[in-house]
Amino acid sequence: MSASDLPRKEANVLKGHEGAVLAARFNGDGNYCLSCGKDRTIRLWNPHRGIQIKTYKSHGREVRDVHCTSDNSKLVSCGGDRQIFYWDVSTGRVIRKFRGHDSEVNAVKFNEYSSVVVSAGYDQSLRAWDCRSHSTEPIQIIDAFSDSVMSVCLTKTEIIGGSVDGTVRTFDIRIGREISDDLGQPVNCISLSNDGNCILAGCLDSTIRLLDRSTGELLQEYKGHTCKSFKMDCCLTNTDAHVTGGSEDGFIYFWDLVDASVISSFRVHTSVVTSVSYHPKDNCMITASVDGTIRVWKT
C-alpha cells in the first residue's frame, strides 16, 4: 500500500454525542461502528452512510470503552461507574452487569469465542468475566500490574495488558506464564498488529513503540505527535504498512511502519483525538474526539 492510499478524505461526520467521545470502534466486519463517551451513552452507527442506528443508555457515568462480539449480537462496555455492562445489541437491554472492579474500568474486550470478557481497570487489575454462566464474579483476577491498566488485547491464547507502570504484560493461558516487557514509560494503549506478531504500544512520552512479541525487542519508535495526558488510541492500518495515532492537538499522524517517518499528518478534529480505529479490510478509518464528533475517513 502506498502513502496515497491513506484515508485522508472526510467521508462522514457522526454527530450525536453530547460531550467528549472516548472511544470509537469498528465492529468485526467493519460495516458498523460503536462509540461511547462522556454522555454515558453507547451509540451504534453506520459510518459509511453516516447514520446513527441505536443508543444504549444505562451507564451511570462516562463510558470508556466498548467492544462487540464477532457475531455482532452482544456488546460489552465499561466506564467510570466501575461496572461492565453486557448488552444485547438488537434489544438494547443489559443482559448482565459485572461488578467487582474497585475503580474505573478503562478498557474491555471479548475473547474470540465471545465467552469471556476481559476488563482492565484503574485498580491495577485485569479481570476476566464469564458470559456463559450467570455468575457475576470474575473468573480470573490478574493483579500483576503496579499501576492502572489502560488497555487490554486478547488473542486466542493470550491476554495482553498495557499499564501506566510502563509494562506490557502478556499472560499466556496455554503455558501458564506471564511475560512482562518493561518499556519504562506509561503505556496508554496497546494494539496488536494484524499478523499478531507485534504489539503497538502508545506511551505517554509522546512516543508509540512497536514491540516484537516473541523476543520483546523494541522494533521501532514513532514520534511527532503529542500524547502526554490523555488516554489516546493508536493502531496499525489494515495492511500493517502504517502506524496511525491521534494527537492532543487534534491532528492525526501516519507513520511508515519500517522507517518511522511521518508520512502524513493533518488536522481531523478541533480537540484531542481520543480514539482511532481502522477498518479491518478497507482503507477507511474513524476518529473520535473530545469535541464530540466522530469522523469517517476514506481515501
Binding site: 500483576a144 493461558i173 506464564r177 512482562s180 516487557d181 518493561d182 518499556l183 514491540l211 523494541l218
Partner: protein, 738 residues
C-alpha cells in the same frame, strides 16, 4: 508429696474461675428470655447478654422500653385534645402555631413578638399597650376591689391621663414641651429636628437648606453651651418630623443607633459637602458601613437584625482603612478648589476648630512664608576636599619642636590637642581657616602665636608623625603585596624552579596557578603505570597534537588533583569539539585501563589494536557519527526489559478460551504468599508443562537455583509422575467439552 499438699493453708475467698461467671451469665440470660416470652409484648424489656437494659443511644431515645418502644401507652401516641366517641365526635379545631409549641418555646417566642420599640413609638401606642398589660397583671395579682368575677374588658386602664386630655383640649399636642422656658424649648425642638433631619438626610440635601444650615449651626452652638449648665428641661415627647425619606436605609433604621459619636462626624461631612453644593460620592457607602468597622469584608453585607461581629470583618484586608482615606481625598480638592483660591496649604481647615460665634475668615492676612531648598549645582560632589596639600612626608625630616609642658587649663589643653589633631588630619588649610575665623577669640590665640603656641606646634608635629606612621604602614602593605611573586618567594625559600608543563597554556585567561598542581605532581612523582600506558599505546598516532593532548589528559586523570581549565584542548577548538574530544579520551583511557587490568598476559599494544579494531575509532572524524548511534542503540536495547513469571490461569478461563489448563491435575492454586518450598516444587513443573527449554530464567524462578541434594532428588522423584499427567492431559480434551 501428699503430705506437702496437706500442708497448704488457704486464706481469703478464692477467685472465681472465668467459666463459672460465664455459665452463670448464660443461665441468667436463659431465665430472662424465658420470662420475656411469657410477658405481654408491651411489658417486655429488651436486655443484653449481661442482663442490663439495652441502651439505644442518644438519638433514638434512651432505654428501650415496652410497647415496642413507642410513646409509652398502649394506644401509642395520641394528641392531648383528642377524644372521640360515637356521640361526642372529635371536633375540628382551629390550630395555630402555639398548639405545637412547648412551654419553653412559647416563652422564647414571647420575647420575640413584633412590637414597635419605645424609640419609634411616636404616638405612644405600644407604651399604652404595655401599660394596659401591666395593669392587667397587677389586677390579677391583687384582690379585686369588686368581689366576684369582673370582666377585665370593661375596666380598661387609662393610658391618657386626665391632665393630658386637658392639655390636648387646650391645644397641646404630642411633642410639645410643657416648660415655658423659651430658649430651652427652642433648643430642644431644634435638637430634635436636627436629629431627625440628619437621620433622614444623606448627601442629597435640598439646595435651599444648604444656605441656611451654617448659620443655624452657629446659633445652635451658641445656645447649646448655656443650656448645658442649666437644669435639665422637662422631658418632652419627641417631635415627629415629617420628612421625606431620602436615604437608602430601611424604614426607621438609624445607622447611628449604637454609635452616636459618628452622627456628629456625618453631620459635619454632610454640611461640609453642602457648603459647596457638591455631592460626595462615597457618603452613602460611608453611611452604611463606614461607622461600623473599618475593615469589613467588601461584598458581604449584614442583615438588619444581625450584629456586626468580629467574624464579619475582613481578615484578608490590609490594615489601612480605605474608607477614611477615600473620603479625605474626595473632600480635599473640592475645598482647595473652591474655597481656597490661593494654593497655600490649609493648616487644620476644619470648622470644628472655630470658636462659637466666629466664622472662618475667607482670606487671612497671615501668609505662611515658604522657602525653596537651595539648588545644588550639578557638578557638586558631596565630599569636601581641601585644596592645600597634606604636608606630610616633606616635613618628616624636619627637626621636631621642643617638648613643651602642656597648659594648666585642661580645657585649653583639650582644645589645643583637638585643633592639632584636626590640622594634622586635614592639612594646613584648616589651620589657616580656623585662624582666620577665630582671630578675635582669645582662646585661639595659640594659633597666631600667643601663649601655648609652642605646645600647639609640638602637638601638631606629634599628630603628623602619628598619621604619617599609619599611612606608611598601609602603603608598605600595598607595595609589598604585588612585589612578592611566587618566584621570589620560591627564591627566598630556596625552591627548585619547576619544569615547564607539556601543554603550553593556550587560553590566555587561564591563570598560571591553576595548572600548578599538575606541574607539581609532575616534578615529584612519575606514575609508572601512566608512563607505561603512554609508551605502549598511542591511540592517536596519526594526530600528534591530539596525542599530546591525550597524554596530558591521561596524566591528569591518573594524578587527580585540580584540573586545569583548558585540559586537553587546543585553543582553536570549539567548546563542543573539546567536549567531544574529552569524551574520546575518556573512552580510550577506559579501554586502555581495562586492557591493563585484564592482565599483561597479552602485549598491551596488541590488546589495544584489538580494541580499536573492534569498531571504536578514535579519529576525530569518526567519533561524532559513531558515538551517538551507539548510545542510542544501547538505550533502545535496554529499555524494553523482558521478564518472565509464572502465572496460573483459572481452569474456567482456560475452558472458556478453549485451551487445556496447563496446571490441570496440579494442586489447587497456591495462595498469594507462596512459601519457599512450594515454589521449589512448582517451578520445574511449569518448565515441563511449557515443553520448551528454559530460555530466560526469571527473577522469581531464581530462587530455585540453590537446592540441596535432598530436594533435588525429591524433585526428580516427583517429576516422573508429572510426565504421566501431561500425557493424560493431552488425551483428555474430549472430556473438557462435555
Amino acid at each position: 508429696m501428699d503430705s506437702d499438699e496437706e500442708d497448704f493453708v488457704f486464706y481469703g475467698t478464692p477467685v472465681e474461675r472465668e467459666e463459672g461467671i460465664a455459665s452463670r451469665k448464660k443461665k441468667a440470660i436463659a431465665e430472662s428470655s424465658g420470662n420475656l416470652r411469657s410477658l405481654p409484648s408491651w411489658k417486655q424489656e429488651v436486655r443484653d447478654e449481661e442482663g442490663r437494659r439495652r441502651f439505644h443511644g442518644a438519638f433514638t431515645g434512651g432505654f428501650s422500653a415496652g410497647y415496642y418502644n413507642t410513646a409509652g401507652s398502649k394506644e401509642g401516641w395520641t394528641p392531648q385534645s383528642f377524644t372521640s366517641s360515637r356521640k361526642n365526635r372529635a371536633e375540628v379545631k382551629q390550630q395555630n402555631i402555639l398548639n405545637f409549641l412547648d412551654e419553653d418555646e412559647k416563652a422564647e417566642l414571647e420575647g420575640r413578638s413584633l412590637a414597635a420599640s419605645s424609640q419609634f413609638d411616636t404616638f405612644g401606642f405600644t407604651a399604652a399597650e404595655l401599660a394596659r398589660k401591666q395593669a392587667e397583671k397587677e389586677q390579677q395579682s391583687r384582690p379585686s376591689a369588686i368581689p366576684g368575677p369582673v370582666p377585665d374588658e370593661i375596666v380598661l386602664p387609662a393610658t391618657d391621663s386626665v391632665g393630658m386630655n386637658l392639655l390636648k383640649k387646650m391645644g397641646w399636642r404630642y411633642g410639645h414641651s410643657l416648660k415655658d422656658s423659651h430658649s430651652s424649648s427652642l433648643y430642644e425642638a431644634r435638637r430634635e429636628a436636627r436629629k431627625a433631619f440628619l437621620a433622614f438626610t444623606s448627601d442629597e440635601a435640598k439646595p435651599e437648606l444648604s444656605t441656611s444650615e451654617p448659620t443655624e449651626d452657629g446659633l445652635e452652638n451658641l445656645l447649646e453651651q448655656p443650656s448645658e449648665s442649666e437644669t435639665k428641661p422637662s422631658k418632652s415627647t419627641p417631635v415627629y418630623v415629617l420628612d421625606p425619606k431620602q436615604d437608602l436605609h430601611g424604614l426607621g433604621y438609624d445607622p447611628y443607633k449604637d454609635a452616636p459619636e459618628f452622627r456628629e462626624k456625618k453631620r459635619q461631612h454632610t454640611s461640609g459637602g453642602r457648603e459647596h453644593g457638591q455631592r460626595r460620592p462615597f457618603s452613602s457607602r460611608d453611611n452604611l458601613f463606614g461607622f461600623k468597622s473599618k475593615n469589613m469584608a467588601p461584598g458581604f453585607g449584614i442583615g438588619a437584625l444581625e450584629e456586626l461581629d468580629a467574624e464579619d470583618e475582613d481578615v484578608y484586608g490590609s490594615g489601612y482603612d480605605f474608607e477614611e482615606t477615600l473620603i479625605e481625598e474626595a473632600e480635599e480638592p473640592s475645598k482647595v478648589g473652591i474655597e481656597v483660591q490661593d494654593s497655600r496649604p490649609r493648616l487644620t481647615g476644619k470648622e470644628h476648630g472655630i470658636l462659637p460665634g466666629f466664622r472662618l475668615a475667607s482670606n487671612s492676612d497671615y501668609q505662611l512664608e515658604r522657602f525653596d531648598p537651595p539648588v545644588i549645582p550639578k557638578d557638586f560632589e558631596p565630599r569636601h576636599k581641601f585644596p592645600g596639600p597634606l604636608e606630610s612626608n616633606s616635613r618628616l625630616s624636619d627637626p621636631p619642636p621642643l617638648e613643651v609642658p602642656p597648659p594648666e587649663d585642661s580645657n585649653l589643653k583639650v582644645l589645643i590637642e583637638g585643633v592639632a589633631t584636626l590640622v594634622a588630619r586635614c592639612g594646613k588649610l584648616f589651620e589657616d581657616l580656623s585662624r582666620e575665623k577665630n582671630q578675635s577669640n582669645q582662646l585661639y590665640s595659640f594659633l597666631i602665636g600667643g601663649n601655648f603656641h609652642d605646645y600647639y606646634v609640638r602637638k601638631l608635629w606629634e599628630e603628623r608623625q602619628k598619621s604619617n606612621q599609619t599611612k606608611l604602614s598601609l602603603e608598605g602593605k600595598e607595595s609589598s603585596v604585588p612585589r612578592m611573586t611566587a618566584e621570589s618567594r620560591g627564591r627566598i625559600l630556596g625552591e627548585r624552579p619547576l619544569e615547564r608543563s607539556m601543554v603550553t597554556p593556550t587560553s590566555t585567561d587561564a591563570p598560571a596557578d591553576v595548572k600548578f598542581p599538575t606541574n607539581l605532581v609532575d616534578t615529584f612523582t612519575k606514575s609508572e603505570v601512566f608512563s607505561e600506558l603512554l609508551e605502549v599505546s598511542k591511540p592517536f598516532k596519526d594526530n600528534p597534537a591530539k596525542q599530546e593532548r591525550f597524554e596530558q589528559f591521561l596524566k591528569e586523570k591518573y594524578r587527580g588533583g585540580l584540573r586545569s581549565t583548558d585540559s586537553g584542548g587546543a585553543s582553536y577548538m570549539s567548546e563542543s569539539a573539546r567536549a567531544r574530544e574529552r569524551l574520546d579520551f575518556e573512552a580510550a583511557a577506559e579501554a586502555i585501563e581495562k586492557a591493563r587490568l585484564a592482565k599483561e598476559s597479552t602485549p598491551f599494544s596488541q590488546r589495544f589494536t584489538e580494541f580499536s579494531a573492534g569498531g571504536m575509532q578514535f579519529t576525530s572524524a569518526g567519533v561524532e557519527e559513531v558515538k551517538p548511534i551507539q548510545t542510542e542503540e544501547l538505550t533502545k536495547k535496554i529499555v524494553p526489559k523482558r521478564e518472565e513469571f509464572q502465572w496460573r490461569p483459572s481452569p474456567i478461563l482456560c475452558k472458556r478460551f478453549d485451551l487445556i489448563d496447563p496446571y490441570m491435575g496440579k494442586p489447587p492454586p497456591a495462595p498469594r504468599i507462596r512459601s519457599k518450598l512450594d515454589s521449589l516444587f512448582f517451578v520445574p513443573d511449569s518448565f515441563k508443562a511449557s515443553g520448551t527449554e528454559e530460555k530466560v530464567t526469571s527473577r522469581r524462578d531464581a530462587s530455585t537455583v540453590p537446592q540441596s541434594d535432598n530436594q533435588e532428588s525429591k524433585n526428580v522423584v516427583e517429576e516422573e509422575p508429572e510426565v504421566h499427567v501431561e500425557i493424560e492431559n493431552v488425551e483428555r480434551p474430549v472430556d473438557l467439552y462435555k
